[in-house]
Amino acid sequence: MSSADIVVRFKDVNFAYEDGITVLESINLELEKGEFACIVGPNGGGKTTMIRLMLGLLKPTSGSIEILGGKPRERCQHVGYVPQFSKFDASFPVSVLDVVLMGCMQRSFFMGRYSKTQKEQAQQALADVGLKDMAFRSFADLSGGQKQRALIARALMSEPQLLLLDEPTASVDVHGTEQFYRMFSEMNEKFTIVMVSHDIGFVAASVKSVICVRKTMQIHPVSELTGESLQKMYGLDVHLIRHDHRCTEKGHVCPHS
């Protein structure tokens, strides 16, 4: 694997907040191009911190992070970020199109209005996430799932090589979640996806690797996580994680260790 194909690289990364509480400890991670990785773990285990480190919003206390072969802050133009919609002011007076166009923003000062090309691109991004004809609706009037889709469309505007999603299905029903994963699988043909998730049950279906974070980190290719390999991996400790054990049509899968 040449280093050019490594999209995300964490090398001996430690992260602690200013109050000294260690969130992440000696994280080593390499994700290749085309990967669809899901970060799982308990609340406060450092899932969102990993995403924020990849975005360059946080700096590691020690160790180094490379995104698309460069520093996170420098490569952020090629990284699409989809936050949780629930943190927004629910009545913010903007149209869906306005929100999507915010994805065109760049470091450079561009003056005034968005170009026609950018508006067409935004309409296309909306069609891609299944929100065709919704462009002129108020963002505030959309359902939770629709808001999340609009935010994904916003992230697509920068034509990302890496898409980072923070719990995209947090308040979407089961049917909606399936649709989201179908959409992610399609997008995954074009770019690398890393997402934080609580939906451990669904992870196995379309995700290629599972990153388990609880201060320290382990990465598991999903298909290898059979009961047998788990036993090999953990030896006697296997009993400690059996509560996460799930049965799927692909066999016994433990996405959450």
Binding site: E18, L55, G56, L57, R73, C76, Q77, V79, Y81, P83, F88, D89, S91, F92, P93, V94, S95, D98, V99, L101, M102, G103, M105, Q106, R107, F109, M111, G112, R113, Y114, F136, R137, S138, A140, D141, R154, S158
Partner: protein, 286 residues
């Protein structure tokens, strides 16, 4: 009311007052919308109270050292910008307790102002007009200054509309796009500072925040786009300042206070109105 209209045609100071009300409402409609959306009304209030320090100091040095060019409004502009940048940098750097620092600046600005005004020889009646505004004292010179500041506010808003919108909507995302989020935040605070200085001449330091936020609060109930809220807030601001002026004129009431009471009553009426009527189903604007 008819006396007001008759005098308006004849008396230049009344014409100045009307123009001041209109010009201030333009800036406060625009900036007030950002202030409400970005949830920094508290910071705007702190900046406006700090202005008293600048007003008082400028007037003191002007009188004591005989510097006629040093008008109180220059002190106000300087202090407002300084307060905006100080508060801005504190709130960007400090992770917590920023409200304590802001409150402290708020009070210190007022205290410094009171001391300077107290030590300034002559009458201290200016204190009242600083605190509660006196739109009838607006001079031609003031109008030029208000107009110039208006141009700055409108030009900067038109230039950075999309950027400011993106930063107000989702600051973190804007940061991941590589946008200079801090720059836009400080820019917004500086615009707020300039607008507050303008508005002080109409309603005074204490009531500025009401004129910034009440028209926006009313407009937000009827419009669901930022630019529409801005336009509606401007018109509401003009309506409130002019009716405040007209209503207060004959009974010789303080016009700033009447203006704010008008705005407050209208806001309450819209609240009652929307409580009686079921929430209006917003129709998609195609």
């Amino acid at each position: 009311m008819s006396a007001f209209i008759k005098d308006l045609i004849e008396l230049p100071f009344l014409q100045n007052a009307v123009l001041a009300g209109i010009l201030c409402s333009i800036a406060s409609g625009i900036v007030g919308t950002w202030v409400v959306l970005r949830r920094i009304t508290y910071i705007a209030a702190a900046i406006s109270h700090c202005i008293l320090g600048g007003l008082g100091a400028a007037r003191y040095f002007s009188v004591v050292y005989d510097l006629p060019w040093l008008r109180p409004v220059y002190g106000a502009i300087f202090t407002a910008l300084a307060a905006a940048l100080t508060i801005g940098i504190i709130s960007l750097r400090a992770k917590e307790r920023e409200d304590t620092v802001i409150s402290a600046l708020w009070a210190i600005g007022m205290a410094v102002g009171v001391l300077f005004i107290f030590k300034t020889p002559g009458y201290n009646e200016d204190l009242m007009s600083y605190l509660f505004g006196n739109i009838l004292m607006v001079s031609r010179e003031d109008l030029f200054l208000i107009g110039a500041l208006d141009v700055v506010v409108v030009a900067l808003t038109l230039t950075f509309y999309s950027q400011t919108l993106a930063v107000c909507f989702d600051e973190e995302f804007a940061r991941t796009r590589g946008m200079a989020v801090e720059f836009y935040y400080l820019l917004l605070l500086c615009l707020t500072a300039l607008t507050v200085v303008l508005t002080v001449s109409v309603v005074g330091i204490i009531m500025v925040i009401a004129l910034l936020s009440l028209p926006v609060a009313i407009a937000s109930r009827f419009f669901d786009r930022v630019w529409k809220i801005m336009a509606a807030s401007m018109l509401l601001g003009i309506f409130f300042t002019l009716t405040g002026l007209a209503v207060s004129y004959t009974p010789n009431l303080p016009s700033g206070a009447v203006t704010i009471v008008m705005a407050g009553l209208t806001y309450l009426m819209t609240l009652v109105f929307s409580a009686l009527k079921k929430p209006v189903q917003k129709t998609p604007t195609a």
